[in-house]
């Protein structure tokens, strides 16, 4: 898989991530598109940093969501 395909796949994943706000999704997709046009190592590092933090924050929110869901599960038992 070449770089363009990889970026396209990431862009699709972001587009379907309903946990993100619409504005945030648009910004990330725009960033991916810009990097795709000019994929220099420095630009790719920016994208890499952003995606890494996006992944970390998603993990955090998932953890909180899981915790909240556990409360619901217990209530419904």
């Amino acid at each position: 898989m070449n770089l363009t395909d990889t970026l396209k796949n990431i862009s699709n994943v972001v587009e379907n991530d309903l946990n993100l706000t619409e504005e945030l999704r648009e910004d990330i997709i725009n960033l991916i598109a810009e990097v795709n046009v000019d994929p220099t190592p420095a630009n790719l590092r920016v994208l890499s940093t952003v995606l890494e933090k996006l992944k970390d924050s998603t993990k955090y929110l998932s953890a909180l969501k899981t915790f909240s869901s556990l409360e619901s599960t217990n209530l419904s038992t």
Binding site: L31, T40, A42, V46, F67, S68
Partner: protein, 288 residues
């Protein structure tokens, strides 16, 4: 997850927080914390681990990157920060709310476990009151189909009373307690409605029952007005008298002092005489 779902219903909010902390993993120290502590620690840990500020600095420090891409990257990082904060706050509040509900639910259940007979009796009492309301065709009565529910509740109450509380432990007791709890809630709601209706009816009856109440009220008003007028007249009269006293005050002051002085002297003399008489009396008694 399956382990937690199968846990007993009586677990406390704290116990759930402990298990949830462990279940999330990656932050094992969270497993031993209470709900509020869990969130506080989680936020601190995440702030350290996510490191959005560092990421922003890293992007800004990447001078070789296209400025437009750098700006967009920083914007996304800030957006991620806002999202984490807002979503985190929502989830935290939601967890607190659920925890409070769970605690309330468990407390109610515990009360039912401890006093199933009393609870069922209470439910029956409310329902009997509602039945009476229906029979009297009073407003605020329970809806159609209530009679069968009332009968069911009454049967349940009787069954609990007959069986005795000892036999109502365990799973079946919990199930029946839940039914009783639901019926009790409904019955309380109807009961309160019925009470409000009764109160209103009492007040209304009092008004209707006292047909000449209004005329009596008018009479009272007239009497009070008369009293007020009379009081005003008396006050006016007193004010006049007071004015006279003030006018004559100077004359009283002029001639009064000498008169008072003479009166005092006469009084002292009189007291001296009494004292002498007493002394004579005492002396005379002592010589007898």
């Amino acid at each position: 997850m399956a382990e937690i779902a199968a846990a007993p219903i009586s677990v406390t909010a704290e116990a759930r927080a402990v298990r949830a902390g462990g279940a999330i993993g990656g932050v094992p120290e969270l497993a031993k914390l209470k709900l509020s502590e869990w969130f506080n620690t989680a936020k601190t840990e995440v702030a350290k681990r996510i490191g959005l500020t560092k990421a922003e600095a890293k992007i800004k420090g990447n001078e070789q990157a296209d400025p437009k891409i750098g700006e967009l990257g920083v914007k996304v990082i800030k957006g991620v920060g806002d999202l984490v904060e807002k979503r985190g706050e929502y989830l935290e509040k939601s967890a607190y709310s659920r925890s409070a509900r769970a605690t309330d639910h468990e407390n109610k259940l515990q009360a039912l476990r401890e006093k199933p007979v009393e609870t069922a009796k209470k439910a029956a009492e409310y329902d009997i009151a509602n039945t009476t309301l229906q029979m009297l065709d009073l407003p605020g009565r329970v809806g159609p189909g209530a009679l069968s529910r009332i009968e069911q509740t009454r049967e349940l109450a009787q069954r609990v009373i007959d069986t005795g509380s000892e036999k109502w432990h365990g799973f079946w007791a919990e199930r029946d307690n839940r039914v009783a709890e639901r019926d009790l809630d409904t019955a309380v709601k109807y009961g309160e409605g019925a009470k409000a209706t009764h109160d209103f009816a009492d007040k209304f009856e009092a008004i209707i029952g006292n047909k000449d109440g209004l005329s009596k009220l008018k009479e009272s008003k007239t009497t009070i007005q008369n009293e007020v007028d009379q009081t005003a007249a008396v006050k006016e009269k007193l004010a006049g008298q007071f004015g006279e006293v003030l006018t004559k005050g100077a004359n009283i002051g002029k001639g009064g002092a000498e008169q008072i002085k003479q009166q005092d002297v006469a009084e002292i003399k009189k007291q001296e005489q009494i004292l002498k008489d007493v002394q004579h009396g005492v002396t005379a008694a002592g010589t007898k």
